[in-house]
Each structure stands twice: as structure tokens, then as C-alpha cells.
């Protein structure tokens, strides 16, 4: 098991320009889940898991099916409460200067203790396969993202409409605004969910297998959007099961191991984490890492053992 050092964890990804000074034991910036534990029906699903996601970068949450990736995202999003542990966020990416962190990381905000609505203005979560049978239009679905920003007694304002349309434009789905969500293809629906998360104007974006059911072009378009958002300062944590896609698009990676309880076997920049020594025992495969001739990024191929 390779435990990548804290320093490696903080190193800048190949395309991002994060230059945080090391802030002691845990990472000083971005999102940090520390010693998170969750069990259900007597089964320990997450056992003291530590996951960090630096700001302005895309962190891939990897691991075989059933290792607790979705569970971890739900805990960070505040949808479920962990049995123990801490989830916190440093205020670096905020345009608000009040939250600027000192070197000691004193300005970390506890996401679990935060009031729900404020947390929903801070963290957006795109779950896997969220669906509805109701005849809602795409625009109305995206406007839901404004819910934590307005009074629950008031309807969406003109500003909310402007923001929702801008979000739709950003994901290239403005033309779908008046369509009903139930009539969309899988790829179109995924874009609408991304737009809804954007309308939330979050500092942290959690994505659960955002490229599932998408064709190659749509996968790349999704990941390009995610990278752009990260460059603008959003902290992105995305559960992915496609290791090659993660290698091509993520700055950092966290690998959860299979077994009765999920725990982290490796974390750090993708070049250091997506290596045969980490992947082979976790997935039970033989991995070869090549270099992409143009991008210089790792390309993974797999064989059975």
C-alpha cells in the first residue's frame, strides 16, 4: 500500500497553479474530510477515511464498485450525517476576503456544523442518475439550484432566471430550456444537472460518476467544463470509475480500497497515484502506464492477471 506523503498531496497538479504553503498535518486549503466513519445496518462502510481535495483542482475519487465513493460524497454534501469525523473547508476560493485563511488554517469552516441552507450555497452535489417523472421544464429544474439562495416563500426572482439561463448556456443546453426533463437523453439530462449545480454558485462541486452513460465526446465535454470550473477556483471532487478518464483529466486522485470497509490506499497527484503498484492490488489487474504523445499525460491499459 502506497501512502503518498502530505507534501505530495499538496503538490500542484500538472495544469493547475496551486501554490499553497504546507499547513501542518492536514492540508491547509480546500476540502478535507478527516477520519470520517459511517456504518449502516451493522456494516462499517467508511472507516476513518481521510480525503482532501485542493481548491482550484479536480480530484478524482476512485475505487471499485461498493467501496463507498457515493457514500463519502453524500456525507460531504450533508445529505447523510457521518457517525464520526470532520468535514471542513478552507475559505480560499471565496471572493469574500473575510474568510482568508491564515497559515495555521484557522479559517476552516466546519461543513457538518454549518446550517443546511448555507451549506447548500457552499456545496453542490450532482448525484448519479437523479431522475423525475414530473413534467418539469429544464429551466425550472435548473432554477431549483437557486433554492438555497432565496426565501422559501418567494418565487424565483429575475436574477435567479438570469443565473439559471447563464448556467444553461455554460453547459451548452440553453436551447433545451423549455423542454421537459423527462424527454431528454442521458447526456442532455446530465448537462441539466450540471447547470443546476452551477446555479447553486458553489465553492465545492461534488460529482458522482458524472460521465456515466455518456458517449466519449460528452464525457470529454463534461470533464472540460469541470476543469474550467476548477480553474475558476471551485474545488471539485468527482467519483469516477473510469481510471483512464481520471488519468486524462484529474489533477489529484484518491483511491479507496475494496473490502468490508472503505479506506484510502493512496492519495496525491494522478501521476503518483495511478501507478501499477496502487492499482493492481486494488482492482486485481495488471496495469501498464503509457504517456500520451501529445498531452504528456498518463494513459492506462489493463490486462487480466
Amino acid at each position: 500500500m502506497t501512502q503518498v506523503s502530505d507534501q505530495a498531496r499538496l503538490e500542484a497538479g500538472p495544469r493547475s497553479t496551486v501554490a499553497e504553503p504546507s499547513a501542518g498535518r492536514t492540508s491547509g486549503a480546500g476540502l478535507a474530510a478527516e477520519r470520517v466513519r459511517w456504518s449502516v445496518a451493522g456494516r462499517l462502510i467508511l472507516d476513518d477515511v481521510d480525503v482532501t481535495a485542493p481548491p482550484g483542482a479536480v480530484t478524482g475519487l476512485l475505487g471499485p464498485n461498493g467501496t463507498g465513493k457515493s457514500t463519502l460524497l453524500r456525507l460531504v454534501a450533508g445529505v447523510q450525517r457521518p457517525d464520526g469525523g470532520r468535514v471542513s473547508l478552507a475559505g480560499t476560493a471565496s471572493p469574500d476576503p473575510v474568510g482568508a485563511p491564515g497559515p495555521s488554517g484557522a479559517a476552516r469552516e466546519d461543513l457538518l456544523a454549518m446550517p443546511r441552507r448555507r451549506r447548500a450555497r457552499t456545496v453542490a452535489f450532482v448525484e448519479q442518475d437523479a431522475a423525475t417523472e414530473l413534467p418539469v421544464t429544464v429551466l425550472d429544474a435548473v432554477l431549483l439550484g437557486r433554492t438555497p439562495h432565496r426565501s422559501l416563500l418567494a418565487g424565483p426572482s429575475e436574477d435567479d432566471h438570469t443565473i439559471a439561463r447563464a448556467a444553461l448556456e455554460r453547459v451548452g443546453a440553453l436551447g433545451l430550456a423549455d423542454r421537459e426533463v423527462t424527454t431528454l437523453s442521458g447526456g442532455e439530462r446530465q448537462r441539466v444537472h450540471m447547470a443546476r449545480a452551477l446555479a447553486q454558485a458553489p465553492r465545492v462541486l461534488l460529482l458522482d460518476e458524472p460521465t456515466n452513460h455518456l458517449d466519449v465526446a460528452a464525457q470529454l465535454a463534461t470533464m472540460r467544463l469541470v476543469r474550467e470550473l476548477a480553474r475558476e477556483g471551485v474545488t471539485v471532487l468527482a467519483a469516477l470509475h473510469d481510471l483512464s478518464l481520471a488519468a486524462a483529466t484529474c489533477d489529484h486522485a484518491v483511491v479507496l480500497a475494496p473490502g468490508a470497509s472503505g479506506h484510502v490506499v493512496a492519495a496525491g497527484p494522478v501521476e503518483q497515484v495511478l501507478v501499477p503498484e496502487v492499482i493492481d492490488p486494488v482492482y486485481g489487474v495488471r496495469t501498464t502506464v503509457l504517456r500520451h504523445p501529445r498531452t504528456g499525460r498518463p494513459v492506462l491499459t489493463f490486462e487480466e492477471r
Binding site: E127, A131, E133, D140, A141, G155, A177, R179
Partner: protein, 366 residues
């Protein structure tokens, strides 16, 4: 009507700030104004309909005088017979029908949303079966005076049993989920229905059977001003509360997880709204019996007209439900006059084919 925008769906609209928002808000106001006007007109017209040969203006005359506007408008005292028919007989009945219709429709919307089940209605959690059981028990005993209380207690007991069953079966596995709630309600309904049948079979004598049956089908024939006070009071307080939860219910569009991620306290909202629905339904059922199909059909019909956003759906369903039940009850007392039908037969006779039609249209649309 809802199909109109699809033609322009593919063309990119210039993003002039919130044009669609203002437009739909204006449209909503038009809908609200129109349905309110229809409701008020229906009160006057349905009260006039019947054997005494009254006209809507006779009704308006009585109402204006009773409201103390007689001197202001410079009109004389109305005919005492007309006053008696309008104010003592028909008005309480029509207003009770309106309140029950409004309450059932808004409860139906909330239940369909909370359980994410298009077949849900206010009775889903065993409320009507529980109320029927309570009512049947006191009717065979001849204690008609406590009928509303027994019905209310029966519905509350059924609800408590349902929720206890649902959360016990969900302990450690996600708690009170929509599917579990629906199944528990089904079990409790069946049990209460069996108990009701047993009570009737074992001890009903003579005319009691017809009395119980009419109660089971639902009727507002015996409505008094007390019924108006109970049902309209419940609708004004609890119904208005439910109608104001549009944004919260909208947040459930993509399910519980997505609602929670939008900052909605899912469990608290679900328990709270179920409780309000139960209290309101219990109050309505205690006065009218279990009138079927209103809480199931009205939400679907209104959704077809104005879309699924709850901020429009909730108040419009209330207004349309009120008008619908007033007219259904008018049919119930006039089609076979002088014999009366329980209004539940009329709502079922209208509701079942309409529901089939909605299903058919829904299939054609998607």
C-alpha cells in the same frame, strides 16, 4: 396548452433577463383570478339550483342581507322562504363541499409529491379507512352525535399506525422512505377496511347499513354551519399552510437526496407535512366521510394545465377542487331528484374516466 412552448424549444432564446419568469408569473395571476372568479360564481349558481326555483340574484340578495350589506346596497329584506333555503339548507352544504374539495385537492398534491407516487391521494396512509372504521363503530351503536369525533380519532389512529410501521420497518435502512410509507399505508388500510366490514357484517341492523354505506362513500348532505366552520377553518389554516410550501415541494423534484443537497431538512419536512395533511384530511373526513377521487384526479388535471411547479399547482388545485366538488355535489342532489346520491358516487363516476383519459394523454405526451 402546456405543449405550446415545444415549438420554440430548439431555437436559442436571447437571455433577456427573466422574460419567462415574469411571463409565467403573469400567467399564474390570470389563472388564479380566473379560478377564483369561477369559484365565487359557482357558489351563487349552485346554491340557486334545486327544486325551489331560486335565481342567482335571489341568492345574492340573501347573502348580501346576511352579510349586513342590505342597508348599504339599499335592498329590502329577502323572502323568508328563500332566506331559509339559501342560508340554512343549501349554503352550508355548498360551502362544506367547497372546503372539502379544496382541502382534498391540496392534500392530494402534497401526498403525491412527498411519496413521489402519482397514484397517491390524501387517503393513502390509511386515513379514510381508519375514519370509516371509527364512523362504522359509532353508527352501529347509534351514537351519531360523536360521529365526527370517532372519524377523526379513527383517521389519526390509522396514520399513527402507518407511520410507526413504516419507520419501524425502515430502522437502520434509511428511515421513512416514500415506498415504505406507501406500503405501510396499504397494509393499515386493508386492515381497517376488514375491521369495518366485520363490524357491519356482525352488528348492523335495518337502515344502519345504508347509513354506514352512505358515510363510506362520502356525502355532504347533512352539512350544517358547524360543518362549514370545521372544514373551512381547517382549510383556511392548514390548507393555506400547505399551499405555501411550493418551493419546498419543488426541491423534492429529483428526490430526497437532491432536496437535502438544496438545503431542505428532508425528514423534518416529510414528517411535518404528513402531520398537517393528516390533520386536515381527518377534519374533512369527520364531516363528509371519505369522498374519493378528488385528491387523486384534481392534482393531475391541474398539473396538465399549468405544469408541475408547486407554487402554481397548490393554490390552483385548491381553487379547482373547491369548484369541482361543489358541482359534483349539485349533480348528486339533482340528477335523480328527489332521491340523492352520496357525492362519492358522482366523484368516482367522473373521476375514473377522467383518470383514464389523463393516463392516455400522459402516454401520448411522453
Amino acid at each position: 396548452m402546456t405543449d405550446a412552448p415545444t415549438a420554440s424549444a430548439r431555437t436559442t432564446r436571447p437571455s433577456t433577463s427573466g422574460a419567462a419568469g415574469t411571463l409565467s408569473r403573469g400567467r399564474l395571476l390570470v389563472w388564479l383570478g380566473g379560478t377564483t372568479a369561477a369559484l365565487l360564481a359557482s357558489v351563487v349558481v349552485t346554491v340557486a339550483i334545486g327544486p325551489a326555483g331560486l335565481t342567482p340574484s335571489d341568492v345574492a340578495h340573501v347573502v348580501a342581507t346576511r352579510l349586513g350589506l342590505g342597508d348599504l346596497l339599499g335592498i329590502g329584506a329577502p323572502d323568508t322562504l328563500a332566506d331559509g333555503i339559501v342560508w340554512q339548507l343549501r349554503m352550508p352544504r355548498v360551502l362544506t363541499a367547497a372546503a372539502v374539495g379544496a382541502g382534498l385537492a391540496v392534500c392530494g398534491v402534497v401526498m403525491q409529491s412527498l411519496t413521489r407516487n402519482p397514484l397517491a391521494d390524501p387517503y393513502l396512509l390509511g386515513l379514510s379507512s381508519g375514519a370509516s372504521f371509527g364512523a362504522a363503530c359509532v353508527l352501529v351503536l347509534g351514537w351519531t352525535a360523536v360521529l365526527p369525533v370517532a372519524a377523526f380519532v379513527g383517521s389519526t389512529a390509522a396514520l399513527v399506525t402507518t407511520l410507526a410501521l413504516a419507520s419501524a420497518s425502515g430502522r437502520g435502512a434509511g428511515g421513512l422512505s416514500p415506498a415504505r410509507t406507501v406500503l405501510a399505508g396499504l397494509a393499515v388500510s386493508q386492515l381497517a377496511a376488514a375491521a369495518t366490514s366485520f363490524v357491519i357484517f356482525w352488528s348492523a341492523k335495518g337502515d344502519q347499513y345504508r347509513e354506514i354505506l352512505s358515510w363510506l362513500l362520502g356525502s355532504v348532505a347533512g352539512a350544517t354551519w358547524t360543518s362549514v366552520a370545521v372544514t373551512a377553518g381547517a382549510v383556511l389554516v392548514l390548507g393555506t399552510l400547505l399551499a405555501s410550501t411550493g418551493s419546498v415541494l419543488d426541491a423534492f423534484t429529483f428526490g430526497d437526496t437532491s432536496a437535502a443537497a438544496l438545503g431542505v431538512p428532508v425528514a423534518r419536512v416529510r414528517w411535518g407535512l404528513l402531520l398537517v395533511v393528516a390533520l386536515l384530511t381527518g377534519a374533512l373526513v369527520s364531516q363528509s366521510g371519505a369522498i374519493g377521487f378528488v385528491g387523486l384526479i384534481l392534482p393531475h388535471a391541474v398539473r396538465l394545465l399549468v405544469g408541475a411547479r408547486h407554487r402554481a399547482l397548490l393554490p390552483l388545485s385548491m381553487l379547482c377542487g373547491a369548484t369541482f366538488l361543489m358541482w359534483a355535489d349539485t349533480l348528486a342532489r339533482t340528477v335523480f331528484a328527489p332521491r340523492e346520491l352520496p357525492v362519492g358516487i358522482v366523484t368516482a363516476a367522473i373521476g375514473a374516466p377522467v383518470f383514464a383519459l389523463l393516463l392516455w394523454k400522459g402516454r401520448a405526451r411522453s
